[in-house]
Structure formats: structure tokens, C-alpha cells
């Protein structure tokens, strides 16, 4: 039995099957992204003043990706228009261009992601100097008039068993602070970071501030025992980055889905043009609607996560 309304529209709705299907699918997508955006906005608005990261994203790369996606949108329109004009060769060119632009978009995204995973925030231990003069790195857990409970560091944020010292034997020198930058070397003996040192992690939140822009970056050598905690700027870093990775990765998955569909219609799926050109044109129109939606989502992702 032949499936009805694959080419000809239904009389009552005025739509062919695939078009109705894609609009219903896009409606569900609006709800999915709408929920994520609203969650992000609630968290952003609810965060206390000055405690939400600003200027953490690479604006030139984000802008480049926006231009790439907008351009892929017009090449998609031109691919569909070529089929309407019965010019299959032109369709192949524009569909191929769309495919290339989509792949470049993902490539740029990968560059952005990889930088996040090589960028580290390193919290340093306080330094405790014992009466004998031997320095031991670690963290003071509690301090009374008579005793100091101390967690000695074993390197790279690991702690040994707590030790109790008489207060008279202990001299605490607070060094602490946070080192932020790109990781150059990480071994059992040394950690080398190309970046800067600040007093506390809150100082790293606003990279648009004058202090952040004027800060000089240098090669900082650390002994693993100095390190209390060391973590990259992945989704585990804080709420903002968790939202950033959730939303942009979901969008990137949609781009990947688009790439598979665009490739199929550019390659093996294009055989349908020779047997059912109208139906094939409709398929390209439907995949185009999906691709424009991916562009539409990015239009909100870029300013929300990169600029505001």
C-alpha cells in the first residue's frame, strides 16, 4: 500500500506528512531548549551580585561560529531553491557547502571545548612551618589555644591523616591563593601553569574587569604538595560551566544530527531525485527547516552564554 500525502498536501491541513512531522518535532524541541534556557536564566538571576562568571568565553570564536551558522543557513536555502529550479548540480554544490560549514562549526566548538579542559584553577595550600624549621604544606582544620589540628598535603590535593600539634610548636604562614592558567606540565614532581596568581577564586569571576585585563601572565612552577585542589574548567567547575556545557553540547548534538541528515541527502539519499524529484525536494525543505531551527537556537545561545 502506498503511503498517502508524501508529496501532495492533505486537503484539511494543507500539509504533506513530513512537513507536519517536522513542525511537531520542532515544537517539542522548543520546549526542550526553552526549559534549559529558563533554568539558566533562573540560576543567573538568582545568583548573588558579583558571583556569576563574566567574560569567560572566547567572543571572537563564538562570533565566527555565529557567522558560519548564518552562512550555512543561506546555503541551505540555496540548495532547496536549486531543486525548485530543477538544477541538481547546483543543489549538490550548495548542499555540500552547508555540510562543510556545519563541520567547521563543530571544529570551532571542539577548539573552544579543548581550551576549557586544559585551563586550570589551582587552589594552594597554606604553608605550615614547624618549630624545627621544616616546612610542611597542608591545611589547618581547627585551632585552639593549645593544639592545632593539621591535614598534611600529599600532593595534588590529596591529604594524609590529620596530625595534632601543640600550638607552641607551630607557626602558620598563610600563603594560600589561587593560580589560574593553562597547564604546561603535570608530573609527580612539578606542575607548571602559564597564568596568574590571585588572592581568592572570586577574583577570577569577572574577566572583563580592568584588573583581569591588565593582569600579567607568567610561568608559575608549583610543587604538588602546595596544591590543595586542582580542577579544569569542565562542567564540574561551577554552575555556569555546567549550564554552558549542557546547552552548547546539546546544540552541538543537534548540529551533528544535522550533519548526518545533510550528508545523507547530499550523498546516497540524493538518488531519490532521479525517481521522485518532488518528494526529494520536500525532504530538503524539511531538513532545511530543522537546520534553520538549529541556527535559531544558536542565536539565543551566543548572546546568553557568551555575552551577558
Amino acid at each position: 500500500m502506498e503511503i498517502p500525502y508524501t508529496v501532495k498536501p492533505r486537503e484539511d491541513t494543507g500539509l504533506y506528512n513530513a512537513k507536519l512531522g517536522i513542525w511537531l518535532f520542532l515544537a517539542s524541541e522548543v520546549m526542550l531548549f526553552g526549559a534549559l534556557f529558563s533554568a539558566y536564566i533562573l540560576l543567573r538571576v538568582g545568583a548573588p551580585g558579583g558571583l556569576w562568571p563574566a567574560g569567560w568565553q572566547n567572543i571572537p570564536l563564538g562570533t565566527l561560529n555565529t557567522f558560519i551558522l548564518i552562512t550555512s543557513s543561506i546555503t541551505m536555502v540555496m540548495a532547496w531553491a536549486s531543486l525548485k529550479s530543477r538544477d541538481f548540480a547546483k543543489f549538490k554544490i550548495f548542499q555540500g557547502l552547508t555540510l562543510v560549514l556545519a563541520i567547521v562549526f563543530l571544529g570551532v566548538k571542539m577548539v573552544e571545548y579543548s581550551k576549557k579542559f586544559t585551563h586550570y584553577e589551582v587552589r594552594l595550600n597554606d604553608e605550615l612551618v614547624l618549630a624545627e624549621g621544616k616546612p610542611v604544606f597542608g591545611k589547618v582544620v581547627s585551632q585552639t589555644n593549645n593544639t592545632v589540628l593539621f591535614l598534611p598535603a600529599k600532593g595534588l590535593g590529596k591529604y594524609g591523616d590529620s596530625v595534632k600539634y601543640p600550638s607552641a610548636q607551630v607557626k602558620t604562614v598563610v600563603l594560600g591563593g589561587v593560580v589560574d592558567g593553562h597547564l604546561h606540565e603535570r608530573s609527580a614532581e612539578a606542575v607548571v601553569i602559564e597564568g596568574r596568581k590571585v588572592a581568592k577564586s572570586e577574583d577570577l569571576l569577572n574577566l572583563r574587569s580592568r584588573e583581569a585585563r591588565e593582569a600579567t601572565h607568567e610561568e608559575i612552577h608549583l610543587v604538588p604538595d602546595q596544591i590543595a585542589r586542582m580542577h579544569s574548567y569542565g562542567p564540574w567547575h561551577n554552575t555556569y560551566l555546567a549550564c554552558y556545557f549542557a546547552i552548547t553540547a546539546l546544540h552541538a548534538l543537534h548540529v551533528l544530527g544535522g550533519i548526518i541528515v545533510i550528508f545523507y541527502f547530499w550523498g546516497p539519499g540524493s538518488r531519490m531525485w532521479h525517481t521522485e524529484p518532488e518528494r526529494f525536494t520536500n525532504r530538503i525543505e524539511v531538513s532545511g527547516l530543522y537546520w534553520h531551527f538549529v541556527d535559531l537556537v544558536w542565536i539565543f545561545v551566543f548572546p546568553t552564554l557568551y555575552l551577558l
Partner: protein
Amino acid sequence: MSHDAHSSPGHAEAPAKPVNLRKAFYVFGSQLLITAMIVTAYYLPWGQTTVNMVFTIVLALCQAALVLCFSMHFITEKKFIYGVALFTAIFLSAMLYLILTAGSASGHLHVNHVS
């Protein structure tokens, strides 16, 4: 028309319907311009972040409207699609309303602060 097009058996029953791409290029140009404006606004010394936020959001909404109305042909769609869009808007608004009121009913929003 290409050789491939002429060689396709289905063409006898499907005549060519050339599409006027002028509108699509206007939309493309406008999108590029709006993106440039949004990014420029980011670097401008507004003084107040709220002004920048409102400006950016309004421009992003304009850009989204262009894509929806012209690239996705929403303004010339069938009534049924408007029904689907209306249902989505109502459903999404109701969901947002529930989330917002649930947050205020419990006193305040529980935000996982930046570590």
C-alpha cells in the same frame, strides 16, 4: 538546468518553479548586521549592564524573528502550523509559570553558588 536534471524521469510531471532568493539574501545580510551589532555592543562602555542586556536581547529576538518568519516561511505557513505554534507557546508559558511560582512559594530560589 543541468544535464542531471534533464535526465531525471520524474521531470515530465514536475515543472521547474524558480524561487526568488532576494528576500533570503536580505535576511542573510540583516542577520550578519545584527550579529555585528550585538558583538559591538558587548565591547562598548555602556556603564550599565542592564542597558547592554536589554539591547542584546532585543536584537537577538529580532534576529530570531527574521529566521522564523522568512527562512522558515512561518508567515506564509498553513493555519494548522499556527495552531501547533500557539499550543507550544501556551504549554511553554504554563511550564515557566509553574517553575517561577514554585520557586517563590518555597521562599527563595536555591542556587548552587559558584565554588
